[in-house]
């Protein structure tokens, strides 16, 4: 399989704290790659570097053979990278308003964004995605007051509005009930298998990782300590040490 996203020797510092210490990663087309590791190991920082939220001091991010290290975050979304946050980013407005705003990524012309025609097109797309994430009954509800599980689905649907090829999912099941976790896992699998999205997944739930990820990278203190299949990495002594201590 061809590499769609590559992180090359990335270093990220916050003052004297090293968040990422020379991280390398390759995401192949159509795979689900899980990033796991203890809290503070640099998983979310790495996602932030990939989507442009953070600027690494050293290293490069390559997407579809193009160096995107210096691209601003919105431009990375435009070329096909979709980021879903651990705490969903929702603004004042209904569920469908919150999803429709993802259309802005596809349309830069402000005058076209002011036209009703664009809103109608965006609404049709949003309606299809509402069905995908099974939020029909919440369509017109004020999004900010909804439970975490619903807000996570709203954000996922918004990101899918611009049909990204790569999805960066930051703990998509944290704070969810068992049923909600199962639903989210189903969406992720469908996005991967049916819609051919390449997915980089940060997740603490190792049983979920075991069920859906093809490959796992384990990080600790800003470096990669293990890589392999879910079955392989859980047996790795370095991984056991990172999670359980000496």
């Amino acid at each position: 399989m061809k590499t769609i996203l590559e992180v090359k020797d990335v270093y990220l510092y916050f003052g004297g704290v090293t968040a990422l210490n020379g991280v390398n990663l390759k995401l192949k087309e159509g795979e689900i790659l899980a990033l796991v590791g203890p809290n503070g190991s640099g998983k979310t920082s790495l996602l932030n570097c990939i989507c442009g939220f953070y600027k690494p001091q050293k290293g490069r991010i390559i997407y579809k053979d193009r160096d995107i290290t210096k691209l601003p975050p919105h431009a990375r979304a435009e070329i096909g990278i979709g980021r879903v946050f651990q705490t969903p980013y929702i603004f004042h407005g209904s569920v469908i308003d919150n999803i429709m705003v993802g259309y802005v990524t596809k349309q830069k012309n402000p005058f076209k964004l002011m036209r009703m025609k664009s809103a109608v097109e965006a609404r049709e797309m949003a309606e299809r995605l509402i069905e995908f994430v099974e939020l029909e009954m919440y369509r017109k509800s004020e999004a900010l007051g909804l439970p975490m599980g619903i807000r996570k689905r709203i954000e996922l649907a918004r990101v899918l509005m611009w049909n990204p090829d790569v999805l960066l999912l930051d703990e998509p099941t944290s704070g969810l009930s068992i049923d909600e976790k199962r639903d989210m896992a189903r969406y992720i699998l469908e996005l991967n298998e049916v819609h051919e999205k390449s997915i980089l997944l940060v997740e603490h739930d190792l049983s979920l990782v075991h069920d859906i990820a093809e490959r796992v990278i384990v990080m600790d203190a800003g470096v990669e300590i293990a890589e392999g299949s879910p079955q392989e990495v859980v047996k790795n002594p370095e991984v056991i040490k990172a999670y359980l201590g000496e």
Partner: protein
């Protein structure tokens, strides 16, 4: 009947304050910038309209004034781009105080330019008396100056257009998304620099419309700056700094109180009319610190 007339005048004046407050609120809500230059933007607008309508490109005075507004607005769009790109953008990520100080500097630049270019003599728009006849419209015993009628119509059109834009279009959704969390909005494909620029553009156009109205009512000179800020700021604070609808309601409330209670008290205590808006502001802020429609912030401790 006198009271009714004052209330109508108050509502008309309130729509103008509301539009100025809208300019202020929009820039605050989207960019988190307390724009002290709002009065100077209004001043620049009235002078630019004065200058362009002075060219008399159209014979009809009303159309000529309207063309002046359109041409001034185009210049306003260019100034908005320059304001965002060269004054504000370098300061994003800095303290709020730095941004406020930059708007103070912007105000001084705009005001200084108008004084250098047009001086401080009181001026009127070319053909103003033909467009807004000095004899008021009489409805029974109520007299309403024409300038108030047109200003109300203009203000409501711009406010209605803005509300439609903000609440119904994708452009408005993007503005709302950026106002909540610019970095996250950028990650979701919205160019925050573009949205900030468009926000300044709308802010300038709204201020320029207010410049036309205030210039027509009070004449054009530097005092418009103070009048603009002195009404936009309390209207915005009363309505709630981050609420566009609140800005208009704050403006209406201010206009009503100023023209009714303020005018009445002014007979006994001359000059108190100008203080009344601030007394109302104090009361509102004591009872509702975030304004009547502002978002209450709850922070975790």
């Amino acid at each position: 009947m006198v009271l009714l007339e004052k209330l109508i005048l108050g509502l008309a004046a309130g729509t103008i304050y509301g539009v100025m407050a809208l300019s202020f609120v929009l820039i605050y809500r989207v960019g988190k910038i307390v724009n002290i230059a709002v009065g100077d933007m209004v001043l620049l607008g009235s002078y630019l309209i004065f200058a362009f309508s002075g060219l008399r490109l159209i014979g009809n005075p009303a159309m000529n004034l309207l063309l002046g507004l359109v041409m001034a607005s185009f210049v306003g769009l260019i100034i908005a781009i320059a304001t965002e790109r060269f004054l504000m953008r370098p300061l994003y990520g800095q303290s709020i105080l730095a941004l406020i100080m930059m708007t103070v500097a912007l105000g001084m630049i705009l005001r200084g330019f108008t004084i250098v270019e047009w001086g401080t003599i009181l001026r009127v728009f070319p053909g103003q008396h033909e467009v807004f006849p000095p004899v008021p419209l009489k409805v029974g015993v109520i007299e309403i100056p024409y300038v108030y009628i047109w200003s109300t119509v203009g203000s409501l059109i711009i406010f209605g257009s803005f509300l439609y834009l903000f609440r119904k279009t994708l452009f408005g959704f993007a503005m709302r998304a950026v106002s909540l969390n610019p970095e996250a909005a950028a990650t979701h494909g919205i160019s925050i620099k573009r949205i900030y620029t468009y926000t300044w553009m709308i802010g300038y156009v709204a201020a320029f419309l207010a410049g036309l109205v205030l210039g027509a009512i009070n004449g054009i000179n530097v005092t418009i700056t103070y009048l603009g800020l002195a009404r936009a700021l309390p209207a915005a604070l009363i309505g709630g700094l981050d609420s566009p609808g609140g800005a208009m309601l704050g403006g209406l409330l201010l206009g009503l109180i100023e023209h009714s209670i303020g005018t009445y008290l002014n007979m006994f205590i001359p000059g108190i009319r100008d203080i009344v808006p601030y007394i109302v502001l104090l009361i509102v802020l004591i009872v509702k610190p975030y304004g009547l429609f502002g978002t209450e912030r709850i922070e975790r401790v």
